[in-house]
Symmetry: C2
Subunit: 133 residues, 2 copies
């Protein structure tokens, strides 16, 4: 990432063109995708190993069957998850992270660890805030 180009419009400060905060930047799309309610959780489970649909459904507490399907489809479309159907009776379907999907695990784990170590502080801050408002 060498030199950066800028747009300068009236009244606003210059903003880098490859800025992830610009709506048209691909980065923004990805952050939107990752930022939905279930994607990170599903990837987290899959990082523990391949998994069948019903196993995921049990592990990700509260996800509906519809949302789980939708989330898995999205991840498959993004090339982060591979879906394998074994034509047995009854059908068995296995979900697994692709190589690309596995690269998401580390940043994801970083976030989860942050959440774990700061859960108490945040809860306390919320309580304090709610008390004085």
């Amino acid at each position: 990432m060498g030199s950066r180009h800028f747009v300068v419009t009236n009244q606003t400060e210059p903003v880098p063109l490859d800025d992830p905060y610009r709506a048209d930047c691909p980065t923004r799309h990805l952050l939107d995708r990752i930022g939905d309610r279930w994607t990170m959780l599903v990837v987290g489970i899959l990082s523990e190993g391949d998994s069948r649909f019903s196993h995921l459904r049990r592990r990700v507490e509260g996800v509906s069957q519809k949302m789980l399907t939708q989330t898995l489809r999205g991840l498959e479309r993004d090339g982060l998850v591979r879906r394998t159907v074994y034509p047995e009776v009854p059908v068995r379907v296995e979900y697994a992270l692709t190589d690309a999907g596995r690269t998401l695990c580390e940043p994801l784990r970083a976030l989860q660890e942050w959440a774990i170590t700061h859960a108490v502080d945040v809860a306390a801050a919320q309580a304090a805030y709610d008390y004085s408002h």
Copy 2:
């Protein structure tokens, strides 16, 4: 994080009690909070330095004033952002990350970097997927 406790119910595999995938785990709440449409973007901007409301509004392209206010209130409640009002005329309000908030920057940057380096691959995967469906 020492030994972990497990629940074992009929038909389902054991699940750790402090598992972030359980709905009642505090970690889950945080992931939900972080996973909304604007929080990560706002934190990202604030990591560059303190910022006024209108500056944030311009930088986070597409955010409405309502959502920006809501997001900032949430972050303030979580103890991640500090809001300072300067009683001038007209009023000036500065937002800044707290110490706790700054600890979020690193995992956040990791995610952003992932998004930047994988934007092309994901776009290609999507195109391929859409083509064959």
